[in-house]
Amino acid sequence: MQRYNKTDQYASRKNVIAALVAGVGIVLLIRLFMLQVIDPSYKAFARSNYLRHITDYPSRGLIYDRHGELLVYNEAHYDLMVIPGQVGDIDTVAFCNMLGIDVSTFESRMLQAARHSRFRASLFEKQISKNTFAAFQEKMFRFPGFFVQPRTMRKYNYPVATHTFGYVGEAGPSVINNDPYYRPGDFIGISGIERSYEEVLRGKKGLRIRTVDVFNRDVGPFYEGRYDTLAVPGQDLYTTLDLQLQLYGEHLMKNKRGSIVAIEPATGEILTLISSPSFDPGLLVGRQRTQNYRMLQNDTLKPLFNRALMAQYPPGSVFKPISFLIALQEGIIQPHTIYQCPGVYQSRGVSIRCRSHPNPVNVSSAIQHSCNTFSSIIFQQTINKPGFSSIQESFSRWRAYVQSFGLGQQLGSDLSYELPGMIATPDYYDRIYGPRGWRSQTIISLGIGQGEMGVTPLQLANMTAAIANRGYYYTPHVVRAIGETGELNNQFALVNDVPIHSMHFETIANAMHAVVNNGTARGSRIPGISMAGKTGTVQNPQGENHSVFIAFAPADDPRIAISVVVENAGYGSEWAAPIASLMIEKYLASEVTRRWLENRVANASF
């Protein structure tokens, strides 16, 4: 070895090297500290890398009729979902062929899904066929990022009560933005009881967190499933509907526009709710839903429109019992009060025609023959009753009576989109005529149920139930019990009282019984069943008058109260009354004996 040694000259350079080592160590540690301790984003990345959140969709609650007959149930179907961040280099053409879509559709859907989220599942193709599902199951490993989500779809045992059930559809953006429960592609009740009982019917989605490896293979639950939640199935609904009555009513209403609402007076339970024209509820399920919806929307007969809840008509003569009840309660008339009817009511330039009927009339026969003169006189006297400082005050009192029957306001039933109807307010007349510009004669047509008044068929049926009960009603509803336990739907147990004495109701009920036995609706008498009713023919400036009838039966112990509206059909006695009588017969006697009447009604079309 050589003895020459140059150590001293450059020895201090060891410090440079040592500083370099220390410096690099410190830089690495600072960077690692930022990455591992400060920056949270990589932790989120890691989770999305290996965790799959799998939603378990609970089955939606079933819907039964009042006798336990299954009306609405579910059928399984499969949605193809995609997590864009996991879709690698797949054979797009083979994939598209399998689904029967073209590549540009594929690309636009992928783009759309990626815009929603790279790491969350989006709907790629909904309700794929069983064949596609089978084919996909086989080849799934070739298409990472795609998976099949089992879902359920509504099925209907009978194509009836569409408007009451409503339908289920995908939750829209506004719902998704406002309610964190819903994700794109989730279903939600859009109308009917599907909507009003959404939270009961939907159940609770379950969430399973699975871990996956780099090949998107499931390698087991995350933390032994500690963070998983079980799906809770939706609760079943036991409705108040009577399937047989509903089927029968829809049969009778074929080719007619209008509605039938039948209520059990003792409970407020809706036995039947028909809006015609209707459609098969199955049309708004499945892949054809959008197309069918558009078709229904463009239909000039407006089948989507729920007339029973949303159509407003002046009640016409069926309002007379209410008007009479108010006059009786206010002491304007007694049951034996008699007026002459000259065939026309005339007062200070107002004239209302009446039909020919026996003369003179008292309360009972005025109802029986639907006397306009009697109605107008007592209405005028009610409004002009001494003791009020102004017409506004007396009219407000009258209006409050009317409202106590549930007219002109939302009843608060469990049906979606119930319209309030309207009863004109004093302010309304003040605006038109000025505060001193109107008198009882100005608004005289209200006394016969015409004029500035609009009520829905549901309100008419409810009003009838109040008469049937002689002074009270339960808020009408269509669900009597929720869930397996059959827990009663208690929210409708409250009584709504009408501030009119029951003896007056007795008077009017008897008069309505006479309407059917020997009055305007005598053609609709039911053999063996005592029915009380009132006909109405609603003036319709746009066309033929609407045929309206309200009824309850048996007259002394009512089990059903009903309203029937047939648009543009003419006299109430001619169409609405027979339909109501057939419905009542069907409900109370199960069998309809008057086949000829049934055929006449069913074959008519307006």
Partner: protein, 420 residues
Amino acid sequence: MTNRSGIFDNIDKTVLFLFLLMTGIGWVNIFSAEYSAPGGQILDLSASYGKQMIWIGTAMLAAAAILIIDVRFFTNFAWVIYVLTILALVAVLIWGTEINATKAWFRVGGLAIQPSEFAKYGVAMALASFIGSKRIRKTTNMHRARAFLIILLPAVLVLLQKDVGTTLVFASFVLVLFREGFVGRLTLFFLGLAIFLFILTLMVNEFIIIGSLAIISIITGTIMRKKHAFVAQLTILFLLTSAYVLTVDYAFENVLQSHHKARIEVLVYGDADLQGAGYNLHQSKIAIGSGGLTGKGFLQGTQTQFNFIPEQSTDFIFCTIGEEWGFAGSFVVIGLFSVLLLRLITLAERQKSTFSRIIGYSTISVLFTHFAINIGMTIGLVPVIGIPLPLISYGGSSLWALTLLLFTFLKLDTRRMDMN
């Protein structure tokens, strides 16, 4: 020294302990990275942790052999070792097996040997012999050229294997040359500055850099305003660096082809092209970044266990450490490397012979370069070039070559009093 009986009596216990600790840490993390299901055998020879067990065992035997061999073997056979490694590099180009597009391997049974790793040992020997044995009173450019040639020859052969990463490691011998006065301080400074500014230019807008440089220059210049020569130099330096920054930026934008840019862009923009060139780095950062302060625990790293990171037991072993042991684990590993390197510097400086010191600094240079680049690339500080983390990564050749280097130096250290 007189006591020649015990091999371990004079050996540096700190380095020995660190060596054993780090190979142990390495094995544990290789086990975790490769572990797939419960019931895996620790000595499963088909798995890499089983093979690594053999590599560690044989490396220990080699280390023991080196400690037994007389030190004169190394000084006398330094050039022979160098020539043998060069021949191996040539041979692998002809008869080698190609793995991952790199023709750098000899297959022996189930094991693969990488001559380029051993070439580092050869270079260390040759440099030590050349610089240490020549009567070099004053370093001439001729000496410099020959020293560079010793490094350049294997580097070129490795580059021919298309193994850019390992080629770059040969540049680390610049540190040895620096220590021996073959390379000046300024050269080293400008080299560092050039690399630093290059990366910075790609990451930050060039005008922000020039602005920052201007501010630093003005402040420094104001403080040192009495020294006119310094201010003048500073001004020139500022102008030169600004021109350099602009040139780099221009070159990157206009001269480089797109595929050249890809790897650098991955580094600069982090998560560009996640499915392609950026995938490794992104997954690596996810694994390390998700480790948190204390990590997810042994075998609990989700990214590690579900194999999200390619090359995890080799070049990306630090991901396992970062994910499963967190910042605490990172701190320990970086701490161990730093302590080992600083201890080796101390040992190298206490050598009497230049030969021994050069072997020491060669060990330091190779270890340091591997350590800095490997960890730097897993956390996105340097471009992803595939070189292993010394003593920790899976791989026999790397472990063997480093063990030879380290224990040759330790052996020389035990005889430092006898050598001159």
